[in-house]
Symmetry: C2
Subunit: 435 residues, 2 copies
């Protein structure tokens, strides 16, 4: 059987693992694909770096020539970022290549271009590795649940921030100390912005929402708060509620009174408290997990390593086998479907719950004033706890569900009350089952 | 676009849900498939039963005529059992129909016939619903992890037994009481044999092993012990070890010194202790979860409702969309691959650990005698705990890994020791990460 020729773009941590697996698994891959897979070339930025185990003959710095070569059938893109990745992917597709990509940034920022090119040129674009590493998640959403009606996706999709928050929960550490430890262990990068500010999670949320709701969602559509302002005090407050703080990516269908598609979708990333009894609460260290609620399937959870060279390469290889099989069979996989065209709702319309800690004057009548502010915004209070006396007096309030706009206006108004010395912390509460 | 016509075999709990979803999701399904799906007919055993929401015009008792009709494109089989399901599936395939089945018994007992027919007649056979209900598991194994090297699958795949064991763990109930409660709540059937004796789990284990290791495995190949002999005492013994007893389906690649495919596969179902820190330990009530260890992907877990009409129907619909898309595209999905042809090893060669409780005479020298028996079989002891005095004197021993044959011979020999009054309980210990 004629071999399928594969071009690899990028030879860093993931690329190196891909090369290793292509070599080590060669016999199995041939049996699974129905044809051998052959490495046609590897595009790198610099030729002068040591690359043990890589045949130097395969290396080139001219990526565009490589992806458009006639003897290449499939292109694997693991360089990341917007450019030159986008031009290379489109160039490859234009010349009939199927593409496997791990590039969440590109798919979230300009999915339109690459999905559009795949459609226009009639080629496969698979990207399981772009979200949650080796955890099979996109394929289940795209294929297994395609006959169901997904209501909500709730996930821990960034390992760095989960490691930091887990340390804060376990040791009572503050954010900076936990970040420093994560950096020293290699869980966080020297510039941790993309992780701790939630940009990475937001890109993944956009990709998940698009698949779950058949609607175009970009990274820019995602409401985003990072974890840099989560304090040891917040984490302790969560503990007192029998909750844990996690950075959550949430994609939700917002119900409407008419029609079952809902009014629109809400896609957001922020640190929130979830009950310790929730399956996501026990996701420790740098692991990822995604909880999916669908109308018929009920609650599902997918758990595993969300990053790392080998896990990401495993996802890339799974996609590679799929597109290679399609090539052998002269067919292609399902294309992205965005037929539902649901609007992405602004954060203010999202329905959620708040946990609010107020430093208050230790006087009678304060609770009544505070309650009045909530009532004025039509926000219903679920529980109030009064703590401490004198200068330490605090009210801890958990609301029922309300729009984020109403909750936010409530918090603003609370800050203006004379007897409220300080809004000490505000955090959302998530993780109830939807009904 | 010309509609695709679907014949449904069986209209019980799952079938009724399938009809409901086909109706309710019609618009979405059309968009996802690229053509409308139309119900051509429903084969039932009796026409005189009340079937609210089902058009009586669609019903027929002549299933074979239905599946071979020219105007049928896809057949969904949810009747279960070996016959007439097998003849109907083969008959449908012979006339070019793609088949979606939820029939674990047939696939595990005589997969050869139905997979063979799918291959011979060049049609799709999808069966996600046969294992673990709505949890996307077969597709990830068959497609996502196809570029990886699966080492082990460890799963809770039977909700009934998990419910019973969970009750025993939570309330200290005995097996019979917990079974009775499960029956009264509808979690267990009046005749619970298939569940409590592990037949259901063994069928699923065979299906999982076949996919994970690309090797033919039938239900009869699976070593099986049920949970009927698990006592409250066993569960308490597990608790003392910070473990929990679960009925596990285990599919394992047994390593060899040469070649990476291993010496063969071990496929087994039995109650075993797993550490409470293991992700499977927290699977409560009738939920299912499957833990997969792959060389590159690392540890993955899939969790959700393992049974029930709606979840199973969700899995059926996912498969239906997949085969319908293939029909529209004039193609078919990946066929079963059994190229690896690894031998299924006898239970005696399986490597595992034992937890043994011995009622012993309260004399000096007993431990030395017992230790000698283990040493004689080359079984290394990890921990020994002496409990009670006098008539209550007990030794609790946990071994390191050894072959099941050696462990079993050790237990036999222990029973013959004069100072061992009784082998009070023997249970396997599972759930360490493989290295």
């Amino acid at each position: 059987m004629k071999p399928l020729r594969v071009a690899l773009l990028g030879c860093g941590v993931v690329g190196t693992e891909v090369v290793r697996l292509l070599h080590e698994q060669a016999t199995d891959l041939t049996a699974r694909v129905g044809a051998p897979l052959e490495l046609a070339g590897i595009a790198v930025r610099r030729l002068d770096r040591e690359r043990p185990g890589i045949d130097p003959e395969l290396l080139t710095t001219d990526a565009m020539s490589l992806v458009t070569r006639d003897d290449v059938d499939i292109v694997i893109e693991v360089i990341g970022g917007i450019e030159p990745a986008r031009s290379l992917i489109v160039g490859a597709m234009k010349t009939g290549k199927a593409v496997v990509s791990a590039n969440k940034a590109l798919l979230a920022e300009d999915g339109e271009t690459v999905f559009g090119a795949a459609r226009e040129y009639g080629v496969d674009l698979y990207y399981e590795a772009s979200v949650a590493g080796a955890i099979p998640l996109l394929r289940p959403l795209r294929e297994s649940l395609v006959g169901d009606h997904v209501q909500r996706v709730l996930g821990i999709v960034n390992g760095t921030t989960n490691y930091i928050l887990d340390q804060m929960d376990t040791n009572g550490a503050g954010f900076s100390d936990a970040l420093e430890e994560a950096q020293s262990l290699g869980y966080a990068e020297a510039d941790p912005t993309a992780d701790v500010e939630g940009f990475d999670a937001a890109a993944k949320a956009a990709i998940l929402a698009q698949l779950a709701f058949h609607t175009v969602v970009t990274g820019a559509d995602v409401y985003r708060e990072g974890i840099t302002e989560v304090t040891a005090h917040d984490v302790a407050g969560a503990k007192a509620m029998n909750c844990v703080v996690k950075l959550l990516a949430i994609c939700e269908r917002v119900p409407s009174t008419d029609g079952r598609n809902g009014r629109g979708v809400s896609v957001r990333v922020y640190p929130a408290m979830i009950p310790r009894s929730h399956p996501l609460a026990s996701v420790r260290e740098a692991y990822n997990a995604v909880f999916v609620e669908a109308e018929s399937a009920g609650s599902l959870m997918f758990y595993g390593a969300g990053a790392g060279g080998a896990p990401t390469a495993s996802a890339v290889l799974g996609d590679l086998v799929a597109v290679a099989r399609n090539k052998v069979g002269g067919t292609r996989g399902p294309v992205e479907s965005t037929y539902a065209q649901l609007p992405v709702l602004p954060m203010g319309e999202t329905v959620t719950r708040y946990h609010v800690q107020l430093d208050v004057a230790d006087k009678s009548g304060v609770l009544a004033q505070v309650a009045e502010v909530f009532a004025h915004q039509d926000v219903s209070i679920q529980t109030v706890r009064q703590e401490g006396r004198g200068d330490e007096a605090q009210l801890v309030i958990v609301t029922h569900k309300a729009t984020d706009a109403a909750l936010s206006a409530t918090v603003d108004a609370l800050g203006g009350l004379q007897n409220v010395r300080r809004v000490a912390s505000v955090m959302r509460v998530e993780g109830e089952q939807q009904t």
